[in-house]
């Protein structure tokens, strides 16, 4: 950040206005479209990026940071898709990827070190990104040009997110004004998005199959595996169940120990210890550890038990007003 502020002082020239305008515009585009437009003036484009980063950091708003990182990544990836193999190799090289042209006679353009692949693939959802569905040979994962570009987009997103993961103490007055403007815009945009808050009461009917079966097992006093217990507790705490209610749920289990259970639930709820509120593992993790009892229709559209819950709640809500009539 020190470095950046020095640069800002230097910028008080004729280009200053254009650069800062473009910086604000970048963030604005991220807020409104989740996508940043193509560059017109390359110099302005390069110079405005660190300032845009600074504006976003100054908002200290995590969802906005994520959205901005994603938007920048999308910009890069749409640029990359029109590039040839050398250019992709060059950019991948900037991120220290171990990548080389594919030497086997297959529809692939690149062979990428499996650790570089995994670092960027695990957030991608389609089954073609699962390592087990790739050609993996001697430590390298084979990719088409398009797939390499998609993974680079992820790399950029993480990279920008890392740059945003900091704090800024003081911002020049003019930038503060712009930042406040952006914050307002973001609040408006979010206001539109936030009609779907979770209800205060727990809606059992909206539980995904995994949680349903864990919940029923706990109620019936059956012992759950460690990961089963963790998944159930994190889920319930996150949809608004109180620590007391969760502890009560485990009361029928044969080796129930109130003190221990309470301690663990409080920990998970973020009321003790590190103060982190934990969330349940993702669907594919639950599958790996054998917690997933099999998917229903809604499961196919989500990758997280909490997303399932939210989706079902929305479906119930859409129905409810109609029924009242």
């Amino acid at each position: 950040m020190q470095e950046l502020s020095l640069k800002i002082e230097d910028l008080r020239g004729s280009d200053y206005e254009r650069i800062v305008n473009r910086a604000e515009e970048r963030v604005k585009e991220a807020i409104l479209d989740a996508k940043i437009s193509e560059a017109r003036d390359v110099e302005v484009e390069v110079a405005s990026f660190p300032i845009a980063v600074m504006l976003v950091v100054a908002t200290a708003d995590l969802p906005l940071k994520r959205r901005y990182a994603l938007s920048e990544a999308k910009r890069v990836s749409s640029l990359l898709r029109n590039e040839n193999e050398e250019k992709i190799m060059e950019i991948a090289g900037n991120f220290k990827w171990k990548i080389k042209p594919a030497e086997i006679d297959m529809p692939y353009a690149f062979a990428l070190d499996f650790t570089d692949f995994l670092r960027n693939s695990t957030v991608l959802r389609e089954s073609k990104w699962k390592l087990v569905n790739r050609l993996v040979l001697k430590g390298e994962v084979y990719l088409t040009l398009y797939e390499a570009a998609r993974l680079l987009e992820e790399e950029v997103r993480r990279h920008v997110e890392e740059r945003l993961d900091t704090k800024v103490d003081t911002l020049p007055e003019e930038l503060t004004r712009r930042m406040e403007r952006l914050k307002l815009l973001w609040a408006e945009k979010r206001g539109q998005r936030q009609f779907g808050e979770l209800p205060k009461d727990v809606v059992n009917a909206a539980f995904p199959p995994c949680i349903r079966s864990l919940y029923d097992a706990a109620k019936a006093g059956r012992r759950l595996s460690h990961i089963g217990r963790f998944s159930l507790t994190t889920f319930l705490v996150n949809i608004g169940m109180s620590v007391d209610e969760v502890v009560d749920l485990f009361r029928n289990v044969a080796d129930f120990n109130e003190r221990m259970t309470r301690y663990q639930v409080e920990h998970i709820a973020g009321e003790k210890g590190s103060r982190t509120k934990y969330i349940p593992p993702r669907c594919d993790t639950l599958r790996t550890h054998g917690v997933c009892p099999g998917m229903d229709e809604t499961c196919k559209r989500v990758r997280h038990p909490l997303a399932y819950y939210r989706r079902r709640i929305r479906a119930v809500r859409r129905k409810a007003p109609a029924e009242q009539k």
Binding site: T115, L118, L131, N133, V136, A254, T288
Partner: protein
């Protein structure tokens, strides 16, 4: 449960071992960045969050407390002795645990015993999910490391090593294999390359090793775009990665499949008849493109079911939790296993086939001990076969006696 005098005796023997074999305990790389944990004989509790700057410091600690089991973290920490939240995670080795507890074995584990912690009902074989008498779910288990269990896990380790070297390109030098000291094998990768992989990335590796989430459509088993329900081609034996494994597994399955087995995987009667009738044609198919197109009437749906079976034979049955946990404590090589008195022993990969846990992991090679054996199956230590023994006082070589004592199948009856 062993009596106090038996526990005393085991602990004394363990102390002797650690005194004489200090140099055989190799430190893990970057020993000063590791957390150590010790399971204690009497208190049955774990001492955690210990750290040592070198093996001298480690040895004098072990001498002072003589633990029943010694563990260290697969993770590297800035401050290994700090509380979990303040340790400062720097990375972790990639570890795999293959344990007979987590897989079916041909022996059916008839040698294992369980006792319900609630009503005291006892039974043979793996513990049930629920006690048939009272529905209780807590059991005292007595497991036994039989030779079938051990060779089953060894085969799983062999498949894992093949996956790690062929597919993941790890050199045999980077992949270390150990006998766990009980009923399985540990495979550990300590190279820099994998150290920073997070838990999600490790889970992808686990799924790869298990063949979990594998969609045969990505491995060559697919329709052509033009003709409906017409297979394009399938994987062949020489293909790399899972393609080749699917081919190999499919061949092995078809070679020996009985009517019953084919029906068991959910194939229709007509398809089963067709497969049995055309076995020769199918197997001959491997000379060219594989069996996928060799016989009309076996559709993609049927092939997928067969491929699932193929995956099962080619995957390695690792414990999923161990590999994905980036803070795991694992047994230190060269230390004793409290359930057997055998050591966790490193095995050069090329020697794995001939490795014999009851010869190569034996820690106590001298002396004999008289013990009172309540119940012991037939077993072997080094070249001697013992048992079955029931309610009898016998003199056994130290290693054999300790195995029974550690397992709680015998009590001391005056040591020599």
């Amino acid at each position: 449960m062993s009596s106090a005098s038996s526990l005393n005796f085991i602990q004394r023997k363990f102390a002797e071992y650690y005194k004489e074999h200090r140099s055989e305990i190799q430190p893990p790389p970057a020993v000063e960045k590791r957390e150590f944990g010790f399971l204690m004989f009497k208190e049955k509790m774990m001492i955690r969050h210990k750290s040592f700057k070198d093996m001298d410091e480690f040895a004098s600690f072990v001498k002072r407390v003589t633990p029943s089991n010694v563990y260290y973290s697969s993770a590297y920490y800035e401050q290994p002795a700090a509380e979990m939240d303040e340790k400062g995670w720097l990375g972790a080795d990639l570890i795999f645990d293959i344990d007979a507890d987590h897989m079916p074995t041909p022996c059916g584990k008839i040698h294992d015993r369980w006792v319900c912690g609630n009503c005291g009902m006892a039974g043979k074989g793996p513990k049930p999910e629920k006690c048939p008498a009272c529905g209780g779910q807590k059991f005292d288990e007595k497991t036994w490391p039989c030779e079938v269990c051990l060779s089953t896990t060894k085969e799983e380790a062999r498949k894992l090593i093949d996956l790690l070297t062929e597919d993941f390109g790890l050199s045999p030098k980077e992949v270390r294999v150990f006998f766990s000291g009980h009923r399985g094998y540990h495979v550990q990768v300590e190279s820099e390359q994998i150290r920073l992989l997070d838990s999600l990335a490790r889970r992808e590796i686990v799924d790869y090793v298990l063949g979990l989430g594998l969609d045969a459509g990505f491995h060559g088993l697919e329709y052509t775009g033009t003709k409906r329900l017409q297979l394009q081609a399938g994987p062949s034996l020489s293909d790399p990665g899972w393609n080749g494994r699917i081919a190999k597994g499919t061949r092995a399955f078809l070679l020996n499949a009985s009517r019953q087995e084919l029906e068991q995987i959910g194939l229709k009667k007509n398809t089963v008849n067709l497969i049995l009738k055309s076995k020769d044609v199918l197997l001959k198919g491997w000379e060219k493109q594989g069996p996928w197109l060799a016989v009309k009437g076996i559709g993609v749906g049927s092939w997928r079911k067969i491929v699932e079976k193929a995956i099962e034979t080619q995957s390695s049955k690792i414990d999923t939790v161990v590999t994905t946990d980036v803070h795991r404590l694992i047994r230190l090589a060269g230390t004793l296993h409290g359930k057997t008195g055998l050591t966790k022993t490193e095995i050069p990969i090329s020697d794995l086939e001939h490795f014999d846990p009851f010869r190569d992991a034996v820690a106590f090679k001298k002396g004999a001990v008289t013990v009172f054996v309540s119940e012991a199956p037939k077993f072997r230590v080094e070249n001697e076969v013992y048992g079955p023994i029931e309610n009898r006082k016998v003199e056994l070589p130290t290693a054999a006696a300790l195995l029974l004592l550690c397992k709680g199948l015998a009590e001391t009856a005056g040591a020599k």
